[in-house]
């Protein structure tokens, strides 16, 4: 059973399109995250939710909108995709300060 699963694994789309990435965790963790990893492999936090409540909202364009229907799910919707959005997006979950469990990533390519 995969602890943190995100779909799709690969997403290739045209500029201007809207797309969503889904994430689910079965670890019973209270906190979930979206991270962006750029081509230099630096991990940047985008959003963090604790028990469905948004607690971190870094400076990302408002074209990015997270949604947490319950504490096991955190989806990411992106409107009007731009070339610069191309990156790998990771979902993760954690419980308190005990370390993050990551999904396997979604490689987004905007053409």
């Amino acid at each position: 059973d995969t602890a943190v699963s995100q779909t799709p694994k690969y997403l290739v789309t045209q500029m201007g399109n809207d797309k969503s990435i889904k994430c689910e965790q079965n670890l019973g963790h209270d906190t979930m995250y979206w991270y962006k990893q750029d081509s230099k492999k630096f991990l940047k936090i985008m959003f963090s939710y604790n028990n469905k409540e948004l607690i971190i909202n870094e400076t990302v364009p408002n074209r990015f909108s997270p949604k947490s229907p319950d504490k096991a799910h955190l989806n990411l919707h992106i409107n009007s995709l731009e070339l610069g959005d191309s990156a790998v997006y990771f979902c993760a979950s954690s419980q308190l300060n005990k370390g993050l469990f990551f999904g396997s990533g979604t490689q987004l390519s905007v053409l």
Partner: protein, 113 residues
């Protein structure tokens, strides 16, 4: 602004050699986490160190948290090709009732046979 400096950025050594990766900051952390990431996968948590001066061992990997909880090191003894990967450190600090992480830039490690 809190920073976590990780070094070296890149390391390529022969199998059997030893190596150390460092993470340094001027900030005090409540814990320091180490991850390894392989191509096409998400980072995988290796260890969390919490107490100043703490040393944890994971087979040939030794993790140390500095006495002042501002720095940490990862030492690998007799490196093997399977140790190849991107190693990331992350420092945790408390903000209100939640924890936030700052990340090092990563160390790309290649072990040559």
């Amino acid at each position: 602004t809190q920073l976590l400096e990780q070094s070296p950025q890149f390391l390529s050594i022969q199998e059997g050699e030893n190596l150390t990766v460092y993470c340094n900051s001027s900030s005090v952390f409540s814990s320091l986490q180490w991850y390894r990431q392989e191509p096409g996968e998400g980072p995988v948590l290796l260890v969390t160190v919490v107490t100043g001066g703490e040393v944890k061992k994971l087979k040939r990997l030794t993790f140390q948290f500095g006495d002042a909880r501002k720095d940490s090191s990862l030492h690998i003894t007799a490196a093997q090709t399977g140790d190849t990967g991107l190693y990331l450190c992350a420092g945790a600090f408390r903000v209100d009732s939640n924890y936030q992480l700052i990340w090092g830039a990563g160390t790309k490690l290649i072990i040559k046979p």
